[in-house]
Subunit: 810 residues, 2 copies
Amino acid sequence: MTTSVPSATKGSLSAFGPARSTIEANPLSKDELQNIHAYWRACNYLALGMIYLRDNPLLRTPLKLEHIKKRLLGHWGASPGLSFAYIHLNRMIKKYSQSIIFLAGPGHGAPGVLAPVYLEGSYSEIYPDKSENAEGLLRFFKQFSFPGGIGSHCTPETPGSVHEGGELGYVLSHACGAAFDNPDLIVAAVVGDGEAETGPLATSWHINKFLNPIRDGAVLPILHLNGYKINNPTILARTSRENIENLFKGLGYEPCFVEGSDPDTMHQAMAATVEYCVTKIHDIQKEARTTGVAKFPRWPMIVLRTPKGWTAPAEIDGRKVEGFWRAHQVPMADVSKNQAHLDILEDWLRSYRHEELFDEQGTLIPELQALSPEGHLRMGSNPHTNGGVLRKDLIMPDFRDYGIAVAQPGQFEAENTRPLGVFLRDVMAKNMTNFRVFGPDENTSNKLNDIYAVSKKFWIEEYFPEDDDGGELSTDGRVIEMLSEHTLEGMLEGYLLTGRHGFFSTYESFVHVIDSMFNQHAKWLDICRHLSWRADVASLNLLITSTVWRQDHNGFTHQDPGFLDVVCNKSASVTRIYLPPDVNSLLSVANHCLRSKNYVNVIVSDKQLHLQYMDMDAAIKHCTKGLSIWDWASNDQGSDPDLVMASAGDIPTQEALAATALLRAEFPDLKIRFINVVDLFKLQPDTEHPHGLSDRDFDSLFTLDKPIIFNFHGYPWLIHRLAYRRRNHGNMHVRGYKEKGNINTPLELAINNEIDRFSLAIDAIHRVPQLQVAGGHAIDKFRDMQIEARSYAYDHGTDKPEFSNWIWPY
Amino acid sequence: MTTSVPSATKGSLSAFGPARSTIEANPLSKDELQNIHAYWRACNYLALGMIYLRDNPLLRTPLKLEHIKKRLLGHWGASPGLSFAYIHLNRMIKKYSQSIIFLAGPGHGAPGVLAPVYLEGSYSEIYPDKSENAEGLLRFFKQFSFPGGIGSHCTPETPGSVHEGGELGYVLSHACGAAFDNPDLIVAAVVGDGEAETGPLATSWHINKFLNPIRDGAVLPILHLNGYKINNPTILARTSRENIENLFKGLGYEPCFVEGSDPDTMHQAMAATVEYCVTKIHDIQKEARTTGVAKFPRWPMIVLRTPKGWTAPAEIDGRKVEGFWRAHQVPMADVSKNQAHLDILEDWLRSYRHEELFDEQGTLIPELQALSPEGHLRMGSNPHTNGGVLRKDLIMPDFRDYGIAVAQPGQFEAENTRPLGVFLRDVMAKNMTNFRVFGPDENTSNKLNDIYAVSKKFWIEEYFPEDDDGGELSTDGRVIEMLSEHTLEGMLEGYLLTGRHGFFSTYESFVHVIDSMFNQHAKWLDICRHLSWRADVASLNLLITSTVWRQDHNGFTHQDPGFLDVVCNKSASVTRIYLPPDVNSLLSVANHCLRSKNYVNVIVSDKQLHLQYMDMDAAIKHCTKGLSIWDWASNDQGSDPDLVMASAGDIPTQEALAATALLRAEFPDLKIRFINVVDLFKLQPDTEHPHGLSDRDFDSLFTLDKPIIFNFHGYPWLIHRLAYRRRNHGNMHVRGYKEKGNINTPLELAINNEIDRFSLAIDAIHRVPQLQVAGGHAIDKFRDMQIEARSYAYDHGTDKPEFSNWIWPY
């Protein structure tokens, strides 16, 4: 009992609402209590063993220095609370044959998860050398936080994990994604009170507004008021009980409190409360499923307040450890130099009386093994956590049916994303239980609203009469819109890792909000490639739209194509970037992405009107190659080009074409080769990225020595970074966004960043040797045209029609 | 009155607590009410004019097509609510001579801010051509969202703005930063209900746990339940009144509700409620300041529920507009093609009876002008919002006094960040009202804890007895720690933009969490460079520590040096990156950064033990040059080098030196030039970045044709991106982190990414022509050493002492 941790009492089960009376005060019999506590002691022993031991795993001899790891790593602080929650959930799984999975927000408390996963046998099944005996146990201990071993978070190597917890903040959104369309699943999500301070976590409490009790599973949040972060108290742990209760009631939950430190009392309280929550979830689901009416329910949640580093020595050297931040990582890091500490460690290890828990072989005794669920109901073996095994390929409509007719290139404009919306609508229609679309309030803005014809936006809060007028809201909608890129990305990741498919569209500039989430997901996928037992999952498909070149009116804050740079830093094995310039190429790319596995596919395509270049056949060929010469825009057939004009992205392609037209009109003998790039990684050598062009192909396309003008969607140096090893890189002149933004028209914005047709044509003249002198007059002329365009914009607020409605003149 | 908006009644002033009885039901006299409503009509007229008009600003003639902008842009939806709040705050400023500033979370409702800023005269003072008459008004209308004009957010061009609101989520953290150490200031922060769904905003309600009522000002949050985002209802607007009340009580606030649509009732309710809040703030502050005891107060906040697009036509073409998402942007975008809509627009404009509000010259009538505060109390002219004018240079201790003695380079290790902590301690001591340190629970972990000797961590929630044992908590602490990089970054930005100084240290991998905030702040600073009236503000100083090369034990999720790539995408005018390799260089860099203005300075320095190379004089010289040859590590004196070995970053430098030593031992005749880079932008040409080396200098240092091995802290391609224009770029071979992570030892992690001494030495042999054959035996030897290092790590869990304690052997 400490000041910080009020002891658990019957009174601490302070639920409210009618179902409350069903909580038993002491639901565990004496034997059950004894066993469940013994199981927890085993967990704690294992967690401590992982952190400290490299030999003598069952302490068959007195603890000596040579049994201790040379480098002590790991986090004790969160571990006991995690295994405490885990084993009480086990009881529910067994009692109700309820499928539950376990997401540990404080993933750095992995010992508290690894321990019960090992004890239930899941670990040894996947990693047979970590067998359920002394030898296996030793290997299990030694590998933890050890070179070549496993990490101290719930990494992909952890059976049963779909949430690493390396970067904090995403456990609830991951849990929600896992629960979507899994009506029989409960996702238990432990939220650390440190993690709870992050923004992404704070808003993700709103997942309860996106779960449908009829068709979705439930999330059971367990807020672990563990008290401290690394060195500080947590905000919520020092918030009054009354405020905590108000906060979660205000968020729409029914908070149930389990608070204390005395194990027996806490086991009883937790057993009762977990059971209350599980049965409450059942009640909510039963009512919704019986009546067929999905109403916003008050889902239960648990507030679990325990001492940090629970069961550690109360004090070491006269300083508080259990229930204090000193218990966060390795409470005694100096046991190798401090015999007194080594003695304390031995006493601490032996305090769990492991000799009562493991038999002669070092195997958990049968009475305790009996507390684990069996087979796939074990949380470490639940197939939802290796979602690839449940994944079904999407049933795909033929994307060719959604294309538009393009008789001749560059003659008319269309909104690139709208037909994609129709395509996605039919993908949705054919996959109504394993496909979802996500967007931060932007699916309509991004012209994807045709989807709503098949499935509307999910909404389960209050409805108003006016919602019928185009609100597109429904309690059975499968489109998820919330103004939180974090929450959406987390939901999508959770949905994919549990074996389903999805599509996320968002504003280009604000996709940076989830840079770090992308990083973490890419890392997860990269590690999974090396784990043969992890089955393939669907790729994460991210449509980046409302792009920089059409944010002239929203201004500087909305102009940032730099997400691609972030993507390029991650492993080539898991990253793909596409910049389809028109409707048909976008459809072809989207079709490919939706069928792919284990990648993050980033598709860049603006939502506004853009010139159309390719009919469907041409688009498929072009996208399959990833980049190709546009013969119709080139005039170097049968000869060497004088200039290679290249582009990637919709507006840059239009401007590069217009520049080509200007140049050809002015210099009919100039031989220009026009290359469009859809698959950005084609620019990298094949030694660097699996999509990379061979040097030979690259040299043939981009020549060995001719000037290349490359008009790029993003920051220009990204092209250099990808292509710097290419032989003709020295002649590559790249234009792109260079952070010149203001309130503008589209052409004016292009001019400011020199990706406009006039600047490009002038660039070309500067670089083609035979034009350097002869081109003087043309430069003068192009500058005049540029000034004219600019003046018109300043006078009228729009681009001059002849520039904004430009078409390919040949 | 609509379903969505309950009408304001006396009952809606549902505050609680003892002060409640002081709210007057109808505080405004008939005249006051009439005037305040007239002022609001003027605001709404102006907001509408900005969106639609390019001529006939005072409708002196019937509205015609030629008066309408060609391209209609802007957001009506949030505007009326913003100006409503603004003018009620004006009343408080006048009544109490209370300094208040206004932060508009929904910054895209800029018309609702620009209008009152113009009406109070602040706008015309800064932009005299936007004078307070018909001509000025026309220019004011026309420039809005017009090429070359101003944006539709509260951009830096907006007088009184320190929060653009282009990217949503940061208004409360910005407000809190502005309130720090400004005891007489109230920061009114309007939170949009869309923005409220973002993660950063959701957790930033916790700012109330970081404000000290004695020394800090107050933040008055005004949650604007405007009902809708672009196309969707907002979560909070459809949350029951009871849940909203619980939520904010749970967060520690006293929520006061102002709800309705009838202007007169709403003016009375808002007037009463704003006054209640301001006086409640005064009471809280008075009590704390009189008693000298800072307790966690229940600060008041306002929940303002109004129709979206308030005062717009209720319906257009039979479809609901006011109070619905259709009012979000431009409610009738087709007035140029639809005479009926043009007529509606004219009626709508005239509904504000502007002819009663503006005189013949087009100037606001004196009775209404009298409602504005005067001089610096006008929110558009409050000096806190142009913080540079209030900024005082830091009083700096001499950083040289904090250095360590380094008799000979590379002979011993020290923790690089610890002396910085001592230096920051004394900076803090000398600037106790305008300097703050921020970190997400990591200042101790990052070895900066000496700061606490002068100022502890701020904590105003509950205290426990054990906090005395090293908790370092205090209600007058000036170190802010919260596990939310978002909130800290926002607080720091708000603090800097209101004229103060700060320092933020954070984990390298997780600084990606605030990529987008960095982007937005860099954009803000970049725009400010062009605004002569905006005074210089202190730079944002970001120490990135716990870096990739020492995250071997935390694993893959904690390894990400990619923030530098994000930084390099922003304007060279505002970005600086430093990688000091040792204690003295870190001190020199930190000193420089703390004195600088208008930049984002990113300093990369790990917290663990690192070799020390430079005494203070050498460090100052080296840092001033930004990069230089380390003569003591080079042996090419008096001759051309055969090889340039370059490095940037602590661990890469150590490994590059060790490689140099290996090579020199093996090939005594090999001439190696060793270059260390502290100031990363030195690598860019001076045409690209103000810090860039001239090509001439670069060529002299890096040679024209010798092989360069560059060992870099971050992703290797960043060096190529910076240096690709350099003449000898083709010979530059860069090593860095390439996303090869696992649980490891430091040397093993280096080996996996090939930045280790052995890989570098082998790289060098491959690239120096005279060694390519002769070096075969050495390659074999180095590989053996590498294998030996690796085997030891796998057996022992640590690096072999001879590798981990390596010193420069000369």
